[in-house]
Symmetry: C2
DNA sequence: GCGTTATTGCAAAAGTATTTGCATTATCCA
DNA sequence: TGGATAATGCAAATACTTTTGCAATAACGC
């Protein structure tokens, strides 16, 4: 990554504007509002670069596959709406790793996914 | 599903013998120890049948994609070993859905994945 | 045991997600 | 303001996972 491009900029803009984990299509479609010609391959290439650079984090979700969110956030979990399928970040963590770990096992990390209806779909 | 076959039987036997969520390859390979000719398409077809029949449950995991486990178990979570990649069932649930749900959202369900080292890999 | 037909095995096809080759375009530094 | 070359767009190629068509096989009711 040695040059600034409108494309990469548009991709980053998408994440600054929409604060939740995004999939390739959502990034592509939203990014195209800024750079009409934005191409899927370009999105993939830039996502990879932005992850390497530590600007994005790739997360694998059970239901929606690979999504990307801004890196550097505190430990948090996710909520997936069953109506709109969007994934939301849930701040904080009320989960006790230790008490759930089976005897003899060593837990290093954990992820929690909530499923239900988001506030805007509930209205 | 109107006839008993050695193939389906072998597949069910795999789940009776190995009590943790299994992927297609593991099912196929283990099943072949009983029915040598066991084919991938047969496994897929039978998994579908066994899920419909309520004997198996399909779970989508973040790291390992679709896995199958015996249906009818109580609410539980999963532990994935970073060494052997196997997924284990964790009985019980110490997670408080309510306290983690953002205002305005409605949580209907949740999943927890722990990551670390399983007891047999730790030895 | 025999015949009907559910099941299987095999290979090809289909559905997704992601990557890559290459000609064209656009950055940006001398 | 060129020019070197990073980055893009496009289409084809990969890489998986799952499904399907079809001939061969095997259950099981009579």
């Amino acid at each position: 990554m040695k040059r600034k491009t409108n494309q990469r900029n548009a991709i980053q803009e998408v994440f600054r504007k929409i604060d939740r984990p995004l999939g390739i299509n959502e990034i592509l479609e939203t990014g195209r509002r800024t750079v009409e010609s934005l191409n899927q391959a370009t999105v993939y290439r830039n996502l990879k670069i932005l992850v390497e650079r530590g600007w994005l984090k790739k997360i694998n979700t059970p239901e929606r596959g690979a999504l990307y969110e801004r890196a550097g956030k505190e430990h948090h979990h996710h909520f997936q709406c069953r109506q709109c399928d969007r994934l939301f970040e849930i701040s904080g963590c009320a989960f006790n790793e230790q008490s759930s770990t089976p005897p003899g096992f060593i837990t290093e990390d954990h992820e929690v996914y909530l499923y239900g209806i988001c506030s805007s779909c509930r209205d």
